[in-house]
């Protein structure tokens, strides 16, 4: 992996928010390097600024300090495209028009953008639903439209903010396999925020663990579980050992936050 060139460089990025008249640090001097084609997972306790970091990368949130660099490989391609937590589709647009939305805003002619959108719908298995409206789809299907919308823009880096969090357990498992298949076929650089360690280990090349507020990089775990991966890796010993290792570190963070919330020092 070290042979691959860096695609995303996050250098000493800090973000703070105003909250009830005080400045609250959300991210504190985060530094990360993501290799081209890497699937990087970010986990951390609630309030560790995982989503904030993605929003900075997506250009939806300005950092107060530090620098983000995304290597632009091809001219005209957007740097990032985000898959949002609650799909965030435009309810008045058909599935096809939602997927083509970014291309439309960039002035891509209708025939071309629709062809591209149909290609992406085929990839996520939603071709028969091109003319449906979002409210006619199930949660899992909406999330797949969100993925197709991001992919249709052919970004340098795909950002995913807990895309499967709102799905039921069975649908989530199916979607995880689906994501692995799509990622393998496109070879995109992916930065993926999740609550679930199991998901991070199944999908990621590396797992970045953030500390609780303010978010700092606590530790980075390489996931040496081989590829291609399927749900069956959960039965392997290496998987169990790694899960235990990441969880024990995360557990410390979660417990610390709980004690702080009670206004006491951790024992």
């Amino acid at each position: 992996m070290s042979a691959r060139p860096a695609k995303v460089i996050v250098h000493e990025v800090s973000v703070a928010f105003d909250s009830h008249g005080r400045r609250l640090a959300a991210l504190d001097r985060i530094s990360l390097t993501v290799a081209a084609g890497e699937f990087l997972c970010i986990v951390g306790p609630s309030g560790s600024g995982k989503s904030t970091l993605l929003r900075v990368l997506a250009g939806l949130q300005r950092q107060d300090a530090g620098e983000v660099r995304i290597e632009a490989g091809r001219p005209g391609a957007p740097l990032t495209a985000m898959v949002f937590q609650e799909h965030a589709l435009l309810p008045w647009r058909s599935v096809l028009d939602n997927v083509a939305f970014g291309l439309e805003n960039r002035g891509v002619p209708r025939a071309e953008r629709e062809a591209r959108a149909r290609e992406m719908l085929a990839l996520v298995g939603l071709t028969p639903f091109a003319r449906h409206y979002p409210h006619q789809l199930s949660g899992g299907m909406k999330q797949r439209v969100g993925i197709a919308r991001a992919l249709a823009n052919d970004p340098e880096v795909l950002l995913m903010d807990e895309p499967l969090a709102s799905l039921d357990a069975q649908t989530r498992l199916l979607m995880q396999e689906e994501l692995l298949r799509i990622w393998a076929s496109l070879g995109k650089t992916v930065i993926y925020v999740t609550h679930s360690l199991e998901e991070a280990l199944l999908l990621g090349d590396r797992v970045v663990l953030l500390t609780a507020r303010p978010g700092r990089v606590s530790q980075i775990f390489p996931v040496d579980l081989g590829r291609p991966r399927g749900l069956e890796i959960r039965a392997s010993q290496e998987y169990g050992a790694l899960l235990e290792k990441v969880w024990s570190q995360l557990r410390e963070e979660v417990v610390r936050v709980m004690w702080e919330a009670r206004g006491a020092d951790a024992p």
Binding site: L60, A81, M82, F84, E86, L90, R93, G102
Partner: protein, 254 residues
């Protein structure tokens, strides 16, 4: 018997009411001079429709509603969008609106008469006032309730300026705009009748009041029926239009 909602259930109570009324008027329990039998009202209605009296008044009233509703709709949507987008504008106009809105619209008739030529224009302008506020307020709310995440997604995928306004903000607010229009249309009908009673010699309101004053009670009841039917047709017409124009909205009970 069907388990849920038999269609005949909705017909039973009005039919029963008419039958009781018919009997009460015929037997003298109600004074027939003031409560004519439904069958008499129906006959009167048929006569007034046949001789064109009702058609002419109905067209006059409908014309006024159309002008008032169009004015209130266009201005209300424009002002409502501005209120939704610019907080300061909303804060600025709010105190004025809050004072004017609850005033019964018909009271504006003399006031409006000072500003615009009294007569037809004053009637239409007065009719438009309350509808305007309803449309403006619901439109503003429609803009403000836009899902933050949907807006973020639209911006993230490159929507800016006019594209963001016309392609995201406006359709996002449309369900509320339609609710405002429906309320506004209902109020336009209520207000136009009231305004016609006090300030016009033509239209359903004027005819209704004249019928009452000369104690042609049958005519008055026949006009009631027309006004009620008009309200139902306008309301359902707009609802049907909404379903046609906004197919993405889930069917929610009105």
């Amino acid at each position: 018997m069907s388990r849920r909602g038999a269609p005949w259930a909705a017909v039973v109570s009005p039919v029963l009411l008419l039958l009781v009324w018919e009997w009460a008027s015929a037997s003298g329990v109600l004074r027939e001079a003031l409560f004519p039998r439904p069958t008499t009202v129906a006959a009167t209605l048929a006569r007034l429709v046949a001789d064109g009296t009702l058609a002419s008044h109905t067209l006059t009233t409908l014309g006024r509603i159309a002008w008032a509703f169009a004015t209130a709709g266009v201005l209300g949507i424009a002002v409502g969008l501005a209120m939704g987008v610019w907080r300061r504008f909303s804060q600025g106009v709010d105190p004025v609106f809050a004072v004017i809105y609850p005033i019964p619209s018909v009271l504006f008739l003399p006031l409006v008469g000072f500003l615009v030529p009294a007569g037809e224009v004053a009637v239409v302008a007065t009719t438009a006032v309350t509808s305007f506020f309803l449309v403006a307020y619901t439109t503003a709310h429609g803009v403000r309730q836009m899902d933050r995440l949907v807006m973020d997604a639209a911006v993230h995928f490159g929507a800016r300026g006019w594209r963001l306004f016309a392609g995201v903000l406006l359709p996002g607010a449309l369900p509320f705009v339609f609710t405002g229009l429906r309320l506004g249309l209902g109020y336009a009908l209520i207000v136009v009748i009231a305004v016609e009673i006090v300030g016009a010699t033509t239209g359903l309101g004027a005819f209704l009041w004249l019928s009452w004053q000369v104690l042609k009670v049958d005519d008055m009841y026949a006009t009631f029926v027309v006004i009620a039917a008009l309200g139902a047709v306008l309301s359902y017409g707009l609802a049907a239009l909404r379903a046609r124009l906004l197919p993405w909205i889930q069917d929610v009970a009105q």
